[in-house]
Amino acid sequence: MSRSLVHAWLRDWRRRPLQRLLTLVAVVIAVAVVLAVDLANQSAQQAFDRSMDEVAGTATHQILGPAGGFAETHYRDLRLAGWRATAPIVEGPARLPDGRTIYVLGVDPLAEGAFRGVASDIGDAPVQRLVTEPGTILPPRGWWADAGREHEDRLILESAAGRFAVTLLDRAAEGDEAATDVDGEGASLWVTDIATAQTLLGRQGRLDRIDVSLDDAALETLAEQLPDGLELVPVAARDQASRELAQAFRINLTAMSLLALLIAAFLIYNTQTFAVLRRREVLASLRLVGAGRRALFGVVMLEALLVGVIGTLLGVLLGIGLAQVLVGQVAQTMTDHFFVVAVTEVAPRPLALLAVIALGVGLSLLAALAPAWEAARVASPGRLGRGRLERRARRGLLGLAVAALVLLAAGGVVLRLGAGGLVASFVGLFLLITGFVLLLPLVLAAALRGLARLGRGQTLPRIGVRSLERSLSRSAPATSALTLALAAAISVSVMVGSFRDSVEQWLGQALTSDVYVVPVAPAAARSGARLPAEWGQALARIAAAESVSTGSSQDTPSDVGMIELYVVAPHPAWLDDLPLLRAEGPTEALDRRLRERDAVLVTEPFAAHHDVAVGDRLEIRVEDGRRVFEVAGVYRDYGSPQGTVLMLTQRFYAGTPGAEGVGSFGLRLPEGADADVAIERLEAWLAERETAAMVTRPGDIEQESMAIFDRTFAITHLLRVITLLVAFIAIFGALMALQMERAREFATLRSLGLLPGGVRGLVVFQGAVLGGFAALAAIPLGLGMGWILIEVINREAFGWGMDLRLPWGEVGETVLLGIGAALLASAIPAWRMARMRLVPALREQP
């Protein structure tokens, strides 16, 4: 390829920097969003995996007991019996003074040996102090950098058991050389001696689990020797559900980022085509002086490569910056729902970077293929004229429509079959979206023709509408981009709005008490914390309550793996308030069955994840060992994405219920009773107790739950804004291109007497027409996408069902936003057209 050819072609960059800038911006944003989401996902995932691995260490199995732990004497007995490859653990969340939640791992440093990974590796020097000095703790290495604390500082930690002062030990300061090697990796666990952890977490004399590392033969023997109430469980079973759910959450985010990519692709295609069209005379001249077709094809692709490479490199930089913002949100969501995750840094993986670079450059090249092909075929300026391109675009409409119908049908089939899990569901959704988008040019052309017919006699509006129709190759991709972005916004509104409503409604149903007494602990720790069971009667008396309910959550083994079991002693007529989805018989009979027979209720996500239906049986370990329970019903619950099994207290405990305490008390006050008075009395009584507990109202719990909910979806809103930004640039670029192409027409109109204000009005009118069309088209697409997100994707990912709510207010806002974005995007082209010099524009080639 000759140097002159390249010069002749690329010199346009200096003449029209804005056009090149738009293409660059499209590539930059597309690459940045995809990379940022990937980096945030990966970094949060690594932190999540690290946390899980640190907690489990190299153990193959764990010995678990009932909630609230089991007596530490069991561990002593095992060691005495010769089981050396065992390590006791007390664990749970606590809160730092700055409000951040941490995860405390209480270990026996002497027994740890081969168990724990690098994060909690115990150097020789600190071990001695951990064991000999109660209240000492090793923060993660990465924590020190920003904490502003020093070795041996005192710190107050708040946990389920209360507030405790601890002494911070810095491994490096204690002469642990290994500490400097790992340089902040795996920074989430706070390691302490088991005795300190027992005090800190309120588990005196008890253990949460015993880690075991043994081969299969030895495991069998150990299982046989375990006393009643203890069970040997493979490590993988414990965190599998969390891992799967965290993955589902990440797939959701990735899908959003791919949507932004799809929208950016429209923009890149649009600007690339325009860049070639603008230089059709250069192309024709180059052909006349002997440039071959291959050379022309090559020079257009070379330009695309340059744009792709520059845009991608800038996009990578922006993406890494954006990831820093996103990762905190992703990690917070994982902490809220799955496990305490602390992310200290975003580390770009070489493979991910390479993939994103290939994506950015590849997208640029792909988008340039069609215009490069056109360029190679040019014989004279007229052969590459806009009219010719437009005629071809119009001829291609039918083909596009056929392809659209095929894609729609394929998408429908994929979703209908429901096989292939979450990824397949997303593939189905994307097929439907692409099909819909491919239909848009045909619909847009028809709508514009219809509008033009309506406007007979109104010459100027007719010019505006007809010129949009005649520039379909330009107006359709831009409109599609805006439609997609608005539809994404609507679908998120539908999904989040429906979800939020359902959660609020569920909270209203689930919180049937007037006052709750719960352990003082960070939200993430609350389910594991316990209050003395005998408080029930006293609380009822003090608050003059009509009835008292109790509820305790615990992880327990079952034939479908570790499950979350919610053991309750409910209020009378509790089933009337429970949002039952599927159950046999009237509630009275169900209540009797749950009280008198081995029967349980399961939540909707549990039924979905474990493929459990009413009438199925589950083998669940209860206080006195494993028993088979019949699933008597499925109810709606958003409390846990993993799903929960609900069992009445009398079915769980063989003897007196709640020896290890209960998770919470719910007090129902008589009609007309003053809750404030009851709360005041309860608080006074609780202040005198040793165990830290607090009184909350249903409203407080609702508020906290909704705050977590809103945090979860904050990232979705952020991605929505980015998507809209891309669409805005797309419509701006398209209008800019459209007006520049039509400069000659505008100059003619001006020479005939159209005022500059008239030109501005015409351009803005065109923007409004495109924006209005995109907004109207986005409504059915957005509602459809929202419905699929609710009925297919969310069910597939989390097992949550929800009532569809059509957020007409938000839909209206989105429509206005679309039109507003298009109007705003048309402001600069309108201004430029109104101010352009007429004579040069009149001299342009038609």
């Binding site: 010459t459 007719r462 109109l749 007497g753």
Partner: protein
Amino acid sequence: MVQRGSGVVLSLAGLGFGYPGEGRVLQGVDLDLAAGERVAIVGESGSGKSTLLHLAAGLEPADAGTVRLAGQALAGLDEAARTRLRRVQVGIVFQSFHLIPTLTALENVMLPLELATDLGAAQRRERARAQLAAVGLGAKEGREPEQLSGGEQQRVAIARALVHRPALILADEPTGNLDSRTGEAVFALLLEQVRATGCALLLVTHSDALAARLDRVLRMQDGQLQDLAARASAR
């Protein structure tokens, strides 16, 4: 509007213009065009003929001298006022037609009426139809420009320039994009229509033969106008 047959429609005095870095295109050009008068400007390519028309129409501001259109000096008017004056007083015929490709022939002709008059839609349509019929394209009013031949397109452009009865027609090489036979026919039509409406005509052309058929022929040379011959106004 200037009364036919009396007064000066266009007056250029000491007109000068130049593009940055390219020297003077026009300098010290003086010209008075009486109502109903038909004047041709001939000259080499790049001699400034078209620029003179653009300045006369107020499409480009002169950087020296004055342009008075229908008695009003353009220099004192802002862009909008210049446009308002132009759309009432001037009709322009371009070499490459400059029809609006998204409008039919009839709609193209209706456009100046919509911009320059208060006529209702029905009246506009009626008058545009009559004008289109006058240039022999009554049967093709529904065609879009790309469905018309070059000669037909220029006839639509002539109809569009005349339909609102301007005082002055500015024609920039109106036959430059047509073959000689079609060009001759279009030129004859233009003269006939100008005569019929009584407006003045300032025409730029390469063709001395065509120019010779007008009342007066001026030659543009080195940015200045030379009066070659004055002819009787009624040929």
